[in-house]
C-alpha cells in the first residue's frame, strides 16, 4: 500500500509541477524496486539475483510477471542517461521505449544511449522458475496447466509455497484437485518435518493417477550397494540374498563394479590372451593345434598366469566366497526411514487399487472386443444354425460393408450424415450379396456341407481380389465423426474409447433386434421351424427355400454393418475380412451353433480370454492368439457342441 501511495504522490506532484521530464513522470514502485537492485538487474548473475527475486515476489506488484518474462526474453534495456529500465524495441536506429510498470509508450531514445540486458542461461532458469509461481494464478487456464506440468516435471522445494497459495483462488475444480494433489506430493518430498511429510504421504494413498505413483516411487528411489558389512547409518531398503534375489554372476559383477573383487576372465579373454602369447607354435607349453580343447586352453592359460603374464583365473569357488563375504543391499536416497516406510505402505495401497482398476479396465476392453466378435459372428451363427452351411465368404461381407462405408464417405463429406447413410446401406449391399450367393451357389449345394465350405471359399478369394482390383491394395480410411473421437476416461487407469462404446451399443441393438425378429415375428417363427426340422416345416406350408434365402441375407447384412463398425477403428483393406473370419468361426463353434445366446456367450468367452491372455503377456499378441486357439481346440474336447448346444439339423447329425 505504501509504495503505491508514494507513486501516486510522486505522479501527482510531477503533474502539478510540470518540471520533471516525461520519463520521470512515469515513475513507479516497480521501477523503484529495480533501482534499489539496479546492479543485479543490469548484470544479473545466478547467485546475486536471488535477493532481487525474493523482493519481486514479495512486492506483489501487478507488472512483475510481465517484467520477468521480458527480462528473460532480453527485451529490457537500461537507459544510460537516466539510469532507468525500459522495455524497448528498435525502430530504425532509435528505440521505442515503454514504461516498465504500465507498459505504456514513453517516447524514444537514441540507440547509443540504450544498453541491452542479457541474462545468462542460469539466470533465465531462475527467472522461469519464478515465473511458474506467477503462472499458477494466471487467468488463462492453459498457462496454469503449463505451470503445473512444469512443476510436476521438476518439482523443487521453493515452488511448494506459491503452489499452496494458488490453491485457494483456483476456480477450475479439476485443476484445483490437481494442485492439491501436487501440493501433497511436494509436501511429501520437501515437507519441513517428518510428521507433515508422513501425513502428506498418507493422504496420497487414496489416489490412482500416474503423477502420484511417479511421485511416490521417486521418494522410494533406491540405489544398490555392496559392502563387507551393512552400513549402519543408511536407510536400507532391503538386503539381497545371493541366489534368491540376484544370481551369483550378477552378484560378482556388482563386486567387480564396486572394485571389491578382481574382474572375471571370460572365455573370450582367455582366447585373446592365448593368441597374444603364442611362442614357437605353443602357448605355455601347450601346442597351438591342441587348443581347440577347452581343457587344454585352461592348462595353457594357467601356465601363463603362473608366469605372471596374465591375471589369474577366478574360480567359481572364489566367486562364491567373495559373494559370501559381502552383503548386497539397496539403500533409499531418502534418509528418513519413517518417510520411506509410509511411502512404501502408501505405494502398495495405491498399487493394489491400481490393480483393481486395471481389472475393471480389462473388463471394459474385453466387453468391447466381445461386442466386435459378436457383431462379426452372429450372422455366421444364424446361417450355420438355420441352413447347416458354413460361409467362408462371411469375412468378405464384412469387408464389403466397410468399403460401402468408405464409398459413402467419399460422396457425403459430413461424417455424421455419411455414417447414418452408411449403416443401412452397408446392410442392404451385404444383404443383396448374401441373397445372390445363396440363390446362385449355396442353394445347389445343400446336403454337401464340405463343398459349400469350399465353394464359398472360392467366392471369398474372388471377392477379395476384386476388392483389391477396385480399391487398390493400400488401406482406406473410414473416419469416425468427431463426437465419436476421444474417450470416456474415469481416471489414469480406466478409460475406453467412445467408438468402442458405440460398437457396444450397436451390438446391443442388434442383439435386441435379432431376438425380436426370431421370437416375435412371423419370419422368426418360420426360421425357428426350419432350423428344427426343415421337412416338417415344409409340410406345414413354410417355403424353406425362401427362409434360407432370407436368413442368409439377414446374416450377411449384419456382417455388412459389422464391417462399418470395424472399419471405424481399424483400417479398411481387402484382407480385413479374413482377419475376422477365423475368430468368428471360433466364436460360433465355442458358443454353440445357431443360437443368439450361444454366440453371445462364445463372443464373451473369446473376447475375455483374449484380453486375459494379452494381460499376462502384453508384449506378444501373436502368442495370445496361439494360446487362445489351443484353448479352443481343447474346449471342443470338453463340449463338442459348444456352450449352448442345439438340437435339430444344425446339431450336425
Amino acid at each position: 500500500m505504501l509504495p503505491k501511495l508514494r507513486a501516486l504522490i510522486l505522479a501527482a506532484s510531477a503533474l502539478l509541477l510540470c518540471l520533471a521530464p516525461a520519463a520521470h513522470a512515469q515513475d513507479s514502485a516497480l521501477q523503484d524496486l529495480l533501482q534499489t537492485h539496479a546492479e543485479e538487474v543490469a548484470d544479473p548473475g545466478r547467485r546475486s539475483v536471488g535477493a532481487l527475486m525474493d523482493d519481486l515476489a514479495a512486492s506483489d506488484l501487478p507488472g512483475v510477471a510481465r517484467f520477468l518474462e521480458r527480462w528473460a526474453d532480453k527485451k529490457v534495456y537500461l537507459n544510460k542517461e537516466d539510469g532507468r529500465f525500459y522495455y524497448g524495441e528498435t525502430e530504425d536506429g532509435s528505440f521505442a521505449l515503454r514504461d516498465i510498470a504500465s507498459d505504456e509508450p514513453v517516447g524514444t531514445a537514441p540507440a547509443a544511449a540504450m544498453e541491452e540486458i542479457r541474462p545468462n542461461g542460469g539466470v533465465r532458469r531462475v527467472i522461469s522458475g519464478a515465473l511458474v509461481e506467477f503462472q499458477l494464478s494466471d487467468p488463462d487456464r492453459a498457462a496454469r496447466v503449463d505451470a503445473l506440468d512444469s512443476i510436476s516435471r521438476r518439482p523443487t522445494a521453493d515452488q511448494l509455497g506459491p503452489l499452496r497459495e494458488s490453491i485457494e483462488g483456483e476456480p477450475d475444480p479439476a485443476l484445483k484437485a490437481r494442485k492439491e494433489r501436487l501440493a501433497n506430493l511436494m509436501t511429501a518430498r520437501f515437507g519441513a518435518d517428518t510428521e507433515t511429510r508422513v501425513a502428506a504421504i498418507e493422504r496420497l494413498s487414496g489416489a490412482v493417477d500416474l503423477e502420484t505413483r511417479a511421485g511416490l516411487s521417486r521418494i522410494l528411489s533406491a540405489e544398490s550397494g555392496v559392502a563387507p558389512d551393512l552400513p549402519a547409518d543408511a536407510n536400507i531398503a532391503r538386503e539381497l540374498e545371493v541366489g534368491d534375489d540376484l544370481t551369483e554372476a550378477d552378484a560378482y559383477a556388482r563386486l567387480v563394479g564396486a572394485d571389491l573383487a578382481a574382474p572375471l576372465v571370460t572365455n573370450a579373454d582367455i582366447r585373446d590372451a592365448l593368441a597374444a602369447n603364442i611362442e614357437d607354435g605353443a602357448v605355455g607349453g601347450v601346442p597351438v593345434a591342441e587348443l581347440s580343447d577347452p581343457e587344454a586352453r585352461t592348462r595353457a592359460y594357467a601356465a601363463l598366469a603362473e608366469a605372471g603374464t596374465v591375471p589369474p583365473l577366478v574360480t567359481p569357488e572364489e566367486q562364491a566366497q567373495a559373494a559370501r563375504a559381502h552383503v548386497f543391499y539397496e539403500v533409499y536416497d531418502e534418509p528418513n526411514p519413517a518417510v520411506t516406510d509410509a511411502a512404501s505402505a502408501a505405494l502398495s495401497e495405491v498399487e493394489a487399487r491400481v490393480a483393481r482398476h486395471q481389472v475393471l479396465d480389462l473388463g471394459l476392453d474385453a466387453v468391447s472386443l466381445a461386442s466386435i466378435y459378436f457383431l462379426a459372428a452372429i450372422g455366421l451363427a444364424i446361417t450355420f444354425g438355420v441352413m447347416g452351411v458354413i460361409n467362408m465368404a462371411h469375412g468378405e461381407f464384412i469387408m464389403m460393408g466397410a468399403y460401402t462405408g468408405y464409398v459413402v464417405q467419399q460422396v457425403i463429406p459430413n461424417y455424421t450424415a455419411s455414417l447414418i447413410v452408411a449403416l443401412p446401406l452397408a446392410f442392404l449391399v451385404a444383404f443383396a450379396a448374401g441373397v445372390a450367393l445363396e440363390r446362385l451357389v449355396i442353394r445347389h449345394l445343400y446336403h454337401r456341407p464340405l463343398e459349400t465350405l469350399l465353394a464359398t471359399f472360392g467366392i471369398s478369394i474372388a471377392l477379395q481380389q476384386l476388392a483389391k482390383n477396385i480399391f487398390g491394395t493400400q488401406a482406406r480410411p473410414l473416419t469416425a465423426p468427431s463426437w465419436l473421437d476421444g474417450a470416456w476416461v474415469m481416471n489414469d487407469v480406466v478409460g475406453i474409447a467412445n467408438i468402442r462404446i458405440a460398437i457396444f451399443v450397436l451390438a446391443l441393438i442388434f442383439l435386441a433386434l435379432l431376438l425380436f425378429i426370431l421370437k416375435r415375428t412371423r419370419l422368426g417363427l418360420e426360421v425357428r421351424a426350419v432350423t428344427q426340422n426343415p421337412g416338417m416345416a415344409g409340410s406345414m406350408g413354410i417355403d424353406p427355400g425362401r427362409i434360407n434365402m432370407m436368413t442368409f441375407g439377414l446374416g450377411s447384412g449384419i456382417a455388412g454393418v459389422a464391417g462399418v463398425a470395424i472399419g471405424l477403428y481399424a483400417q479398411v483393406t481387402s484382407e480385413m475380412g479374413s482377419a475376422y473370419i477365423v475368430q468368428s468361426f471360433m466364436t460360433v463353434v465355442v458358443g454353440g451353433v445357431g443360437n443368439v445366446w450361444g454366440t453371445l456367450a462364445g463372443a464373451t468367452l473369446i473376447g475375455g480370454l483374449q484380453k486375459g491372455i494379452e494381460w499376462f503377456n502384453p508384449s506378444n499378441t501373436l502368442a495370445a492368439q496361439t494360446y487362445m486357439i489351443l484353448f479352443i481346440i481343447l474346449f471342443i474336447q470338453v463340449r463338442p457342441k459348444g456352450i449352448v448346444a442345439l438340437k435339430g439339423r444344425a446339431a450336425g447329425d
Partner: protein, 408 residues
C-alpha cells in the same frame, strides 16, 4: 502286385506318363540335355511334383476318408522346416569353419556353435540355439524329425479330434485353427525358427558348393519324381483292398461302419497320420528347391489352396489330385508371373496378374457346382466306362444321404 494293378488300373498309366515326363525333362535340362529348359524351370517342375505328392495325400484323407483337412500344408511346411534346419545349420557350420580357420588358435566346439548361432539368429536378435535345434547338426536325426514332427502332431491332434467325434465342417474348422495357431506361433521371433524371416539359403546344399545348381535341380527333380511314384504306389495300395473299403465306408457313412464293428477312430487316425507324414516328406523335398521357407507358407490359405487343387483335379482318384495340383499350380505361376497375355476389352484391359485369383475363385465355384468329379471326370468319358456304383460315384455326401439304391 498284379492284384494291386487290377484294382488300380491307373497305376501303369500314371507311372508310365511320369517316367516319360521325367525322361523328357532330363533330355531338355541344362545339365543333362539340350538346355531348352532353364534351371529355374526344372526347379519349378520338381516343386510341382512335390505338390502333386502332397495333393495325393490330401486326396486320400479327403477324397477317400472324407476328412476335409485344412492342415496338410502345415505338415508340409513342418517337413520343410525340419530339413531346412539341418541345411541351414550345416551350411553355416561350413562358413563359420572357413572364417575361423584363420584364427591364431583353433576354435573350441563351443565357440564354433556360438558363431553358428549368432550367424543364424542374428536377424531376430538372439545368439543362442533354442532347444528345438538340438538335432540340427545331424542329417539323420533331422530327417527323422521330418517324419516325426508332422506325424506326432497329426497323431495327437487327430486323436483329440476323432475321439470326441468332431466331424464334418467342425473338423475342417478345427484343423484350420490348428494351422493358424501354428503359423502365428512361427511368426513370433522367439519361436526359435527366425520368426517371419524363416529359413533361407536352403538351395545351397552343404558340401556340394562346387556342384552347379543345374545338376542339383535335375537331381532333386528325379528325387521328387521317385517320391511321387513311391507315394502313388503306397497310397494306391492303402486305398485298395479291405482297408480301402473300410476307409471309403467311413467317408460315405461313418455310423454304419462303426456299427459293423470297425474301430472308425483308428482307421481315421491312421489315414490322417500317414498322409501327414507323406506331406512332411513332400515338404522336405520341396523347400530345398524353393530355397526359402517362412511362416506365410504355413498360413491356412495354403491348405485351402491344396483342397482347391484336389477338388479341381477330382477327388477320390489319386491321379485326379496329381493332375489338379500340377495344372493349377503351374497355371497359377503362369498367370501371376505375367506369362498370360493381357486381354484388351476396349474399355478395360484385363491384366491377369490382377484377375487370376478372381478367375480361379469363380472357376473353382463352377467346378464344385457343375463338375464335382473335377478334371479326373474327363478320364471317365475317355475310357467310356463308368465305375461300378458301389464305389459311390455320386460323391461322398449325396450318396450317403441317398434313400434309394443307385439308379444304375
Amino acid at each position: 502286385m498284379r492284384e494291386l494293378v487290377r484294382s488300380n488300373p491307373s497305376i501303369p498309366w500314371f507311372l508310365g506318363i511320369l517316367a516319360a515326363f521325367c525322361l523328357g525333362v532330363t533330355f531338355l535340362a541344362e545339365a543333362t540335355g539340350t538346355g531348352a529348359l532353364s534351371t529355374s524351370f526344372v526347379k519349378t517342375l520338381g516343386r510341382t511334383l512335390c505338390l502333386c505328392l502332397v495333393a495325393i495325400a490330401m486326396d486320400v484323407v479327403w477324397g477317400y476318408c472324407g476328412i476335409l483337412s485344412l492342415g496338410h500344408m502345415a505338415f508340409f511346411g513342418l517337413g520343410g522346416y525340419a530339413i531346412g534346419m539341418w541345411l541351414m545349420y550345416a551350411r553355416t557350420e561350413l562358413i563359420v569353419a572357413e572364417s575361423l580357420a584363420n584364427a591364431p588358435i583353433p576354435p573350441t566346439p563351443q565357440e564354433v556353435e556360438d558363431a553358428i548361432a549368432s550367424q543364424i539368429f542374428g536377424v531376430v536378435g538372439a545368439s543362442d540355439f533354442p532347444a528345438i535345434w538340438a538335432f540340427a547338426d545331424s542329417f539323420v536325426l533331422q530327417m527323422a524329425m521330418v517324419v516325426l514332427v508332422p506325424g506326432l502332431l497329426a497323431l495327437v491332434f487327430g486323436w483329440l479330434a476323432f475321439r470326441s467325434r468332431v466331424t464334418g465342417v467342425y473338423l475342417s474348422i478345427l484343423t484350420q485353427a490348428m494351422t493358424l495357431a501354428l503359423s502365428l506361433y512361427l511368426f513370433q521371433n522367439d519361436s526359435g525358427l527366425r520368426g517371419n524371416n524363416g529359413l533361407s539359403g536352403l538351395q545351397n546344399l552343404p558340401g556340394l558348393g562346387a556342384v552347379p545348381q543345374s545338376v542339383v535341380s535335375i537331381a532333386f527333380f528325379w528325387a521328387s519324381a521317385l517320391a511321387l511314384a513311391a507315394g502313388y504306389l503306397a497310397f494306391a495300395w492303402a486305398v485298395s483292398g479291405k482297408m480301402g473299403s473300410v476307409v471309403r465306408g467311413i467317408r460315405d457313412n461313418e455310423a454304419r461302419v462303426r456299427f459293423l464293428g470297425y474301430h472308425v477312430e483308428s482307421f481315421k487316425l491312421f489315414v490322417f497320420t500317414l498322409t501327414a507324414i507323406v506331406s512332411g516328406l513332400a515338404g522336405a523335398l520341396y523347400y530345398p528347391q524353393a530355397g526359402i521357407i517362412n511362416p506365410a507358407e504355413i498360413a491356412p490359405i495354403a491348405s485351402i489352396y491344396l483342397a482347391v487343387w484336389v477338388a479341381i483335379g477330382g477327388r477320390g482318384r489319386l491321379y485326379g489330385a496329381a493332375i489338379g495340383a500340377a495344372l493349377v499350380s503351374l497355371l497359377s505361376s503362369w498367370f501371376t508371373g505375367g506369362g498370360a497375355p493381357d486381354i484388351d476389352l476396349g474399355f478395360y484391359e484385363i491384366q491377369w496378374t490382377d484377375w487370376w485369383l478372381v478367375l480361379l475363385g469363380v472357376s473353382f465355384v463352377a467346378v464344385t457346382l457343375y463338375a464335382p468329379k473335377g478334371i479326373g471326370g474327363l478320364v471317365d468319358l475317355i475310357a467310356e466306362r463308368r465305375r461300378p456304383a458301389r464305389t459311390g460315384d455320386l460323391g461322398p455326401d449325396t450318396s450317403a444321404l441317398r434313400k434309394t439304391e443307385a439308379a444304375e
